[in-house]
């Protein structure tokens, strides 16, 4: 069997294993979904009137439109915390030692985790998106091409964060540590342009909000779904994603290939 078909075959076996885990034990994924959904409802129904005034909008529905793109990306960040936890859990299992002594494609264990996690992210994004639509989010002006680009961006962003989360899981000795180490993935969207525009933040803080992966990705997604100005954000977001994906991939595979302790 050629190297590539071996890689694909073993990775899809590992993917099936991870999806089986996710299906048997959905509580972790569902718990992680709660945060973005709660935040969505909180900011729309409790803070919505004040917030919409803050962004210069007319009413609450303007704020829903502003908020949903950021929360979709936050959902991805939240889901990948689950990835870090499950990778870390998995590494403490004897079965990983077994995989390492089998003549299988070496990277398939991690690829299985990444593909499984990206699929979970997409399902989560669809669920949170559905809640958004249910409370009044509309993206009817976007073209099919913009929709596809938005979807592509979400997948790319999920892939990038997932590889980083896999690395975080691999360096964590247990699930608690993994959950702590992965905190930035849920913290970064809080200090991005998810809830308020960057130029509404204090001057000293603006660079922090601006020069991080979430803000350009959010601005790009807003542009694609709602027709706002994208500017350079599209390229910056793609560059962030590719950079993080490559970094996370290199980091994770180096950690996984090192001798286990």
């Amino acid at each position: 069997m050629s190297n590539l078909s071996l890689a694909v075959r073993d990775s899809s076996t590992m993917l099936r294993r991870n999806l089986l885990h996710a299906r048997r034990y959905p509580s972790l994924t569902l718990n992680l979904l709660l945060t973005p959904i709660m935040l969505l409802l909180l900011f729309v129904y409790i803070f919505g009137d004040t917030m919409s005034a803050g962004i210069g909008g007319g009413d609450r529905s303007d704020y829903i439109a502003y908020l949903v793109p950021g929360l979709l990306l936050m959902t991805i960040g939240s889901t990948t915390i689950g990835t870090a936890v499950s990778v870390s859990n998995d590494m403490t299992e004897g079965i990983i030692a077994r995989f390492r002594t089998m003549a299988i494609h070496r990277g398939s264990v991690l690829v299985g985790h990444v593909v499984g996690s990206v699929l979970q992210s997409i399902v989560s994004v669809v669920l949170v998106g559905a809640v958004g639509v249910a409370i009044g989010f509309r993206s009817t002006d976007a073209t099919v091409l913009e929709w596809l680009a938005a979807f592509g961006l979400l997948v790319l962003f999920a892939t990038a964060l997932t590889w980083i989360a896999v690395g975080m899981g691999l360096i964590s000795p247990n699930a608690e540590a993994a959950s702590n180490n992965a905190m930035p993935l849920i913290f970064l969207p809080l200090i991005s342009s998810t809830f308020v525009p960057v130029d509404a933040m204090p001057g000293w803080f603006q660079p922090i909000a601006e020069y991080q992966p979430f803000t350009p990705a959010i601005e790009t997604l807003r542009g694609l779904l709602l027709g706002t100005e994208i500017g350079n954000n599209g390229w910056i977001a793609v560059a962030w994603c590719l950079g993080l994906a490559v970094l996370g991939y290199r980091w994770s595979t180096a950690k996984f290939n090192a001798d286990p302790k």
Partner: protein, 323 residues
């Protein structure tokens, strides 16, 4: 020389400045059981981890060939030839026993129908058919270990590493495991077994190497090892202190144990040697209350080679762990 399934020369491994394996040589002919015997922390698990490609040996290690494949140059070739069952169960607890087996079949690239057949056969053979649909995390220790071995056998490996396969099992499960190991060898499989139980090595292994402090302290068949140390002894116990004292003076070369009124004298345990002792006691008119003959067993060898009573005094030594 017969075909060697495992040949390792000068195996070395150190963690920081702690030397775990200090240049050990291992030769295992195909189709035999080799047992690496040693106390906790002796380096048994480290040896298995290196030979099964889990961790790398230190520089300075000589050639290692497993099933004809060079470990350093062709680890995938080695992996295709071996099966490993580690000290801690290498099963996926979140999925069922059957799913674990099918996972192995998929990773060995068996066609779907054959994978199902092999999985069902092995589950049946290891008495797990009934529990096949339950999550592996709900299995007992013995069941997990059986599932573990069943998973190892899916790929029909010709060389199997078993790292303390019976540690923590109850006596019945231990005997079941022994039976499984014997059947494997009957099929021509080579088994590399580590154990801290002398009885187990004595029972199963064709050759035994005693590992202590990173070095092979002795190697040979169980009988050869037993011959390495001085013969056995006869122990006489008395209840009457006077009889004890007169026996001690009548018999020379005794080791006295005043506390329990017992005498110990070296003896191979043969009929004539025993008769000589009894004759001398009769001649002195002394009656011992109890006479026991102690022949050397692997325990004596083990304690003699691994630094005596220290071993039994340290049950809390940190265990080697497999990650």
């Amino acid at each position: 020389m017969t075909d060697l399934a495992i040949a390792a020369n000068g195996l070395r491994k150190a963690y920081g400045d702690k030397t775990v394996l200090d240049g050990i040589d291992i030769q295992v002919p195909a189709g035999t059981i080799f047992s690496l015997l040693g106390p906790n922390g002796a380096g048994k698990t480290t040896a298995v981890k290196i030979l099964s490609t889990l961790i790398s040996a230190d520089p300075g290690t000589g050639d290692i060939r497993i099933g004809g494949h060079d470990l350093a140059a062709d680890p995938q070739g080695v992996r295709a030839a071996i099966g490993v069952t580690g000290q801690f169960s290498a099963v996926d607890g979140l999925i069922t026993g059957e799913e674990n087996m099918l996972l192995m079949a998929d990773l060995h690239h068996l066609p779907k129908s054959e994978g199902r057949r092999v999985a069902a056969e092995l589950l049946e053979r290891f008495d797990l058919a009934e529990a096949a649909k339950k999550p592996a995390s709900t299995y007992s220790g013995g069941m997990k270990r059986r599932l573990d071995i069943a998973m190892t056998l899916v790929g029909d490996p010709r060389i199997i590493f078993l790292d303390e396969p019976t540690t923590g099992l109850d006596p019945r499960s231990r005997h079941t495991m022994w039976q499984i190991i014997r059947e494997l060898v009957a099929d021509g499989v080579t088994v590399f077994l580590t154990t801290q139980y002398l009885e187990e090595a004595d029972e199963l292994a064709d050759r035994i190497a005693v590992l202590n402090d990173g070095k092979i302290a002795a190697e040979g068949t169980a009988d050869e090892l037993k011959r390495l140390i001085p013969g056995g002894h006869v122990r006489l116990r008395f209840t009457d202190p006077d009889a004890y004292r007169s026996a001690a003076s009548a018999l020379r070369e005794v080791t006295r144990d005043d506390e329990s009124l017992a005498l110990q004298l070296p003896s191979g345990g043969s009929q004539s040697e025993l008769r000589a002792i009894l004759d001398r006691l009769d001649a002195a008119g002394i009656e011992a209350d109890e006479l026991t003959v102690h022949t050397p067993d692997l325990d004596d060898v083990f304690f003699a080679l691994t630094g005596g009573a220290d071993v039994t005094d340290q049950p809390d030594q940190p265990k080697e762990t497999v990650r």
